[in-house]
């Protein structure tokens, strides 16, 4: 069982003036966030293996800073989205050299044309789309995660929808 869980606490309460928080147990944060984060990451990067890795990386980042993070759920989500954006940048490289490693590409064949379009959206637009239409989050929340203004979120979504509309009607 979790050894970290022994460090448990009440979570999300300021324990002193230095803004350190008694970290919630790993087990608790994991049980609440792991599957949703993994799914969101998988949607964003279109790969289950990468989705798991990115979700895990978010947990590692949280673990390192857990005493300074008041809201682990929000932190984890933001980190995952940012990691996914970063991962997009690597995609081109991976693709070019995939033959060297013979790594299975678990991006399964896309059956749904619209999903194919979504997967081809620019990273930030896709993130906005997933956060809005999969996670059901509002503009302000998405803006916080993407570190932009709500107006930018509206713009991202508008452009994404425009692209999807064009592609679907084609």
């Amino acid at each position: 069982m979790s050894t970290i869980a022994t460090e448990v606490s009440v979570g999300n309460q300021s324990s002193n003036d230095s803004m350190k928080f008694v970290a919630e147990s790993f087990e608790s944060v994991y049980s609440r966030n792991w599957q949703p984060l993994y799914r969101m990451a998988t949607l964003l990067v279109n790969s289950r293996a990468e989705g798991e890795d990115l979700a895990q990386e978010a947990f590692t980042k949280w673990y390192v800073r857990r005493e300074t993070i008041q809201n682990p759920d929000a932190y984890l989500r933001t980190v995952v989205v940012n990691l996914c954006k970063g991962r997009y940048r690597k995609r081109a490289t991976i693709g070019r050299h995939a033959h060297l490693f013979d790594r299975p590409n678990d991006a399964e064949a896309v059956q749904e044309p619209l999903l194919d379009v979504i997967n081809r959206l620019p990273p930030k637009q896709k993130a906005a789309v997933v956060l809005r239409y999969y996670e059901g989050r509002g503009n302000r929340e998405i803006a916080a995660i993407l570190n932009c203004r709500p107006g930018t979120v509206r713009s991202l979504l508008s452009r994404a929808m425009s692209t999807m509309r064009t592609e679907v009607e084609r």
Partner: protein, 364 residues
């Protein structure tokens, strides 16, 4: 919500629901977090990677590096458990004493070098795999290679022994072949130590890297017996340079420096001079942790491969990768930087320029 929006939501919801549950268990994620798996054991893995490439160079066969994605290394063991199609094998290190799939450890007094493991690491080790340990200064790491075809284990041992012998004889040089930077983690990260020209040629052919033939020998500078230089066109134009030092002057100095490349271009020398006075700093740096060994001279950065986190630091410093806030903070507050006499930090560029003004050693 428009019809299209409805459809998008439905498609994403269906897709999300179709994703099977992650099998990555709590203890796996937790352990990785505790041990900072994401910050990597890069250097040692690179060293192990060179073993793999050496096997290729020795004509053993086609080798598939597995677990080269560092954040996958620990977790894939459990994740892939029960998946016979998987070729992912653990990479871990001896600092993880309670790793539940602990392999056979190298004895603590094992000299640095590469070792083939005569035993299977775990039940997840795929048939036909070779398990290679890389023993560094302080740590050992292992990696496993899936070898295609029926390759006798003895052949692997022989090939590794050959590489080991070259390394031990210090007829060493190094190839740090950063193909297609700045994408560090997924790049072809080939560190080949002690590879000679023929090996390199075969290596290049085997791994089928585009334009690998452009790696050419150049006139060696004093102190070097052989130097190879890869055309920047192999990599990203103007951003990379591949150099192999084969000689006794430099044990292993991987050069991947824009500044140095520029200097080389200006001087027309076509090679890097021996390092001369350099600074070696060891320290811990936040999440990057571990013992860093970073060397640099007026001509630019170099680093020792045994310094795992130096890879991160180096790449951040050279602007090859954009540091995250955490990385940046860790880097700029680390003894590695803080101990320097002259540091010019340009946060807006997320790059560092460090100027060496003499020997400085910071221990932490």
């Amino acid at each position: 919500m428009s019809a299209l929006e409805d459809r998008v939501a439905t498609v994403l919801r269906n897709e999300g629901e179709a994703i099977p549950d992650s099998g990555r268990a709590l203890h796996v994620v937790e352990r990785a977090a505790r041990h900072g798996a994401n910050s990597g054991r890069r250097a040692l893995r690179l060293r192990a990677g060179l073993a793999a490439m050496s096997l290729v160079a020795a004509g053993v066969g086609v080798v598939q590096l597995v677990g080269q994605n560092d954040e996958s290394d620990v977790t894939n063991v459990a994740t892939e458990q029960g998946n016979p199609a998987s070729s992912i094998v653990a990479t871990t290190d001896e600092y993880d004493p309670d790793f539940r799939l602990r392999p056979t450890w190298l004895p603590p007094d094992t000299p640095k070098g590469l070792y083939i493991d005569s035993t299977r690491v775990t039940t997840q080790t795929p048939p036909g795999s070779a398990v290679v340990w890389a023993r560094g200064e302080q740590r050992a790491s292992l990696t496993a290679f899936k070898v295609f075809g029926d390759v006798p284990r003895q052949s692997l041992s022989d090939a590794l022994a050959e590489t080991q012998a070259r390394t031990a004889a210090d007829a060493t040089g190094a190839l740090l072949w950063w193909a297609d930077q700045p994408e560090l983690e997924y790049n072809i990260q080939l560190v080949a130590q002690g590879l000679l020209a023929d090996d390199l040629t075969r290596l290049a052919a085997q791994v089928r890297v585009d334009n690998a033939a452009q790696i050419q020998p150049i006139d060696p500078p004093p102190g070097f017996t052989e130097v190879y230089r890869g055309s920047p066109t192999v990599l990203q134009p103007s951003k990379s340079v591949n150099i192999v030092f084969v000689g006794s002057a430099v044990r292993i100095e991987a050069v991947r420096l824009e500044g140095l490349a520029a200097e080389m271009a200006r001087s027309g020398a076509g090679y890097a001079q021996p390092l001369g006075p350099s600074t070696v700093v060891r320290g811990r740096s936040g999440r990057m942790g571990g013992a860093n060994t970073v060397s640099w001279s007026e001509r630019g950065w170099t680093y020792s491969v045994q310094a795992e986190d130096a890879v991160t630091a180096l790449n951040v410093a050279n602007g090859l990768v954009e540091a995250t806030d955490d990385e940046w903070n860790a880097l700029t507050t680390s003894p590695m930087v803080a101990g320097q006499q002259s540091v010019d930090i340009a946060p807006q560029k997320r790059t560092l320029e460090l100027f060496n003004e003499g020997e400085t050693t910071v221990s932490h």
